[in-house]
């Protein structure tokens, strides 16, 4: 058996010229390298295959045929067509991607002595959101006035990114390579999960909210040798890391309020005025000033982020708990009580 496999391997080794072609192709574009890495990652490729297996073709055939007004063929053909790869490069990538399995080599951690890591940074302006796809297939949604710094490809034993502002993560599972998010004074360690990190510098604390899976949140320690404090979150829980009091105990929260921004909404649930005004400042690019104490005023409700700022302020004013004055340099003055 082993001899047979050995023969197969011997029959098709990459020639030096071919290796060069491959190297050139990989170097010609960063996304090529990323793609190769995705395919070489067993867990990733298995996840892709399993996702594809879950689609119900019978249903699709039925739905499409009924939309076309065509009767279903009497016998379901079992055969799938063997189509040549339209991007033939794909087949070589796959070959390389599966190589470790073909050759029955143990996939140890790849040695990291290569060229230095290339980092990318993507930022959003106030009123902007952006989706970023990382090399391992993980997805990140950046909220307004935020940024993410990430390596073009993940080398080494961990996947590390850093954010400012707020971001929602959907992380591809890879037990062998923990995913680390650094935000302000907090560090989040995950394997594969969905969560939101809010680390705007004008907030009193960095908040991590978990939607699915499990994450470990720690306070970033500057001094070496100190015992690292960490908290493990369950879905629906939030932990905050503040400069003054450090790591809080996890508390249950309304996750839909936390991730409302992804659906283009402001959602408030007994939220205090200063928190609301900070969100408004980030989205509409305005400055906020206060004339009087408003910390004890809370609001609940939901409004679309596409509404004009005046619409939102009018709704808040209608409660007669608070009103606003607009100065000409796009500063909003918040005053308690009604006019």
């Amino acid at each position: 058996m082993a001899a047979l496999i050995h023969k197969m391997r011997e029959k098709q080794p990459l020639l030096p010229a071919e290796q060069q072609e491959l190297a050139d192709w990989l170097n010609s574009n960063e996304s090529n390298t990323q793609l190769l890495e995705t395919l070489q990652n067993r867990e990733n490729l298995t996840a892709e295959l399993e996702a594809l297996m879950q689609y119900d073709e019978d249903n699709a055939v039925a739905a499409i045929f009924s939309a076309l007004g065509e009767p279903l063929p009497a016998v379901a053909p079992k055969a799938t067509i063997k189509m040549g790869s339209f991007l033939a490069a794909a087949s070589l990538l796959v070959l390389i991607g599966l190589a470790s399995w073909f050759y029955l080599l143990k996939t140890g951690s790849t040695k990291n002595g290569g060229p230095s890591i290339v980092y990318k940074t993507i930022s959003t302006a106030p009123g902007e959101q952006h989706r970023v796809l990382l090399a391992d297939g993980s997805e990140v949604w950046l909220s307004a006035a935020s940024s993410i710094r990430y390596p073009a490809s993940f080398k080494g034993d961990t996947r590390e990114v850093a954010i400012t502002g707020e971001a929602y993560f959907s992380v591809t599972k890879d037990k062998t390579k923990p995913f680390l998010v650094t935000a302000n004074n907090a560090q989040v360690q995950v394997v594969g999960t969905k969560f939101d990190v809010m680390a705007y510098s004008d907030e009193d604390a960095t908040r991590v909210t978990l939607l699915e899976g499990s994450v470990r949140v720690g306070r970033r320690q500057r001094a070496e040798g100190r015992e690292e404090e960490t908290v493990v979150l369950k879905p629906g829980e939030q932990v905050s890391v503040s400069r003054s009091s450090g790591l809080s105990q996890p508390i249950p929260v309304q996750t839909d309020e936390v991730t409302a921004w992804r659906e283009g909404q402001f959602r408030f649930n007994e939220t205090d005025i200063p928190s609301i005004m900070r969100q408004i400042a980030r989205w509409y690019k305005v400055k906020i000033e206060y004339n009087g104490a408003v910390d004890d005023i809370h609001f609940s409700g939901q409004i679309s982020r596409k509404e004009h700022i005046n619409e939102l302020l009018d709704i808040l004013s209608d409660t007669r708990k608070v009103h606003f004055e607009m100065t000409n340099d796009s500063t909003i003055v918040v005053i308690p009580g009604h006019k």
Partner: protein, 215 residues
Amino acid sequence: MAISLYCGYNHLVVAALFTLQEEEILTRLSVGDTAALEILIRSYYPVLCRFAEKFLPDASLAKDVVQESFIKLWKSNKSFNSTQALKVYLYTITRNGCLDLIRSRNRLDNRHQQATIEAAETLEPVLTEIIRAESVALIFQAVKAMPAKMQQVFFLSYRDGLTVSEIATQLGMNLKAVKKQKYKALVALRGRFSKRSEPLLGLLTTAALLADKNL
């Protein structure tokens, strides 16, 4: 935008390799044989759904977009001179379908989705997603065509990294049978990319095209 992109993909069609089966599918599609349409849906529906998911804010919308793509294909009465051209068409209308969907939602929610559209309109990620989809499709179609036992052996070996004897214990098979299934799985996968010259030709063409920023 949509039209220029379509041309762009067309240039990528390299080294068409015909098999009798492919030609047969095309011929039967062109004369309106619904059985050919069904085979096409069964082969490409999951792959296109995964592809569409990458461009949509909500993955559950992918199924509708892809179903619509097959409906458009059938109604267009187009004929294709290679399966590659057919796939180019399917990827293109699926991607355009995603963009249309985002746009129609945009009318309701203008500012918020702008970034999503811009991301989806950039050509480079689209090409990468197609290469990714095609790469995974090659394996997927090979794995799917495997008999159930062989599929189990493949997943236990590839995904879970189990040894032959571990698989034998888990599936209650004897060692020899597991080895045989594993070898067959290997051959089935190998068969998908046995021709050496085409991948390399494709590789070079793709490299040249991806390097061309004006595409």
